[in-house]
Amino acid sequence: MVNQQETVSVSIWRGDEAGEFESYTVPLIAEQTILDLLTSIQRNIDPSLSYRFACRVGMCGSCAMQVNGKPRWTCRTLVRKVVRDNELRLEPLPNLPVVKDLVVDMETFFDKWQDAKGRFEPGDSVVREFSPITPDDPERKLADEAIECINCGCCYAACDVVAANGDYLGPAALNRAWSLVNDARDDAHIERLRAVSGDGGCQNCHTNAQCFARCPLQLNPTKSIAGLKKKAAMAMLRGKL
């Protein structure tokens, strides 16, 4: 339902790193999502506006951007929930290079997943005894708490330590590593602990919990990182690291 009386002034970042905000006045539609609003601007006002999305239902994690100063999924953010004094400010995710407008280059983000050994390592030998993992296994439960991440980058964008230290692996990569450290079938636990305790490793986390506060799935990377710190410290004290 369009309320012709009410409009919203939307400031959108245009251009690359050296760009600037441009303002668009559009009708305020209460039940519209931020992603709907962007599509409306692109179709009706400025076809050159660039932004990223795929699923539109909170499954792919590709539409994250800074909405009024906080990273959010635009597809799951209603305009009425975030609009203040009929104004909105949309920016690309911080801590990542801007490609154009609201699109950032995620390469560093995904490279850090690899740097943190965020992939399953099955080992070289043929599996003779398959490790049974029951749903109530304590390690399985720890992995469960971290495993639903869909790589949207909201935590990475919200992290103060990433902003201050470009080498820091960041909450998403470390959270992924934590889910694998708790996987009994993975064969690279010590290598992964080494990978997450390098100069940009888990010990850099300040426990500000901005990642936890901003995760759209309410995952808790801060807790995962605390677990990694403990495991890495114990491994180092035992001389395994």
Partner: protein, 112 residues
């Protein structure tokens, strides 16, 4: 591959922090108990002079504080000023030694 320097420093800072937490409590409780009824600096020094237990306690306290603070300062320098690399480690190492010497000279005044 060995554990990184930052990981080692992080662990040392955590362990020295635990030590400081315990020592601060012991220090404060001792001070509060000791000054009941009033005490002069002379009387205090009479108690601590030649007391090697006090000397050992405050020597460890001073070194733990120097180590803990220096590692924290290194992180602040890296994240706030962007200073990294060998020069930072040398300066922070020097700062840690300076703090330790100052702390130990205070302990010396207390015990000797």
């Amino acid at each position: 591959m060995k554990a990184s320097l930052t990981m080692k420093l992080w662990l040392i800072q955590r362990l020295s922090g635990m030590l400081l937490g315990l020592f601060v409590v012991i220090h404060l409780v001792t001070m509060i108990v000791t000054i009941q009824g009033g005490v002069t600096a002379r009387e205090m020094l009479d108690h601590t002079s030649g007391n090697w237990l006090v000397g050992a306690f405050y020597s460890v306290f001073a070194i733990a504080a120097a180590v803990h603070g220096s590692i924290g300062l290194r992180t602040v320098a890296q994240e706030v000023v962007g200073w990294r690399g060998g020069s930072l480690n040398v300066v922070i190492g020097g700062f840690c030694i300076l703090l330790s010497v100052l702390g130990l000279s205070a302990v010396k005044g207390l015990v000797l």
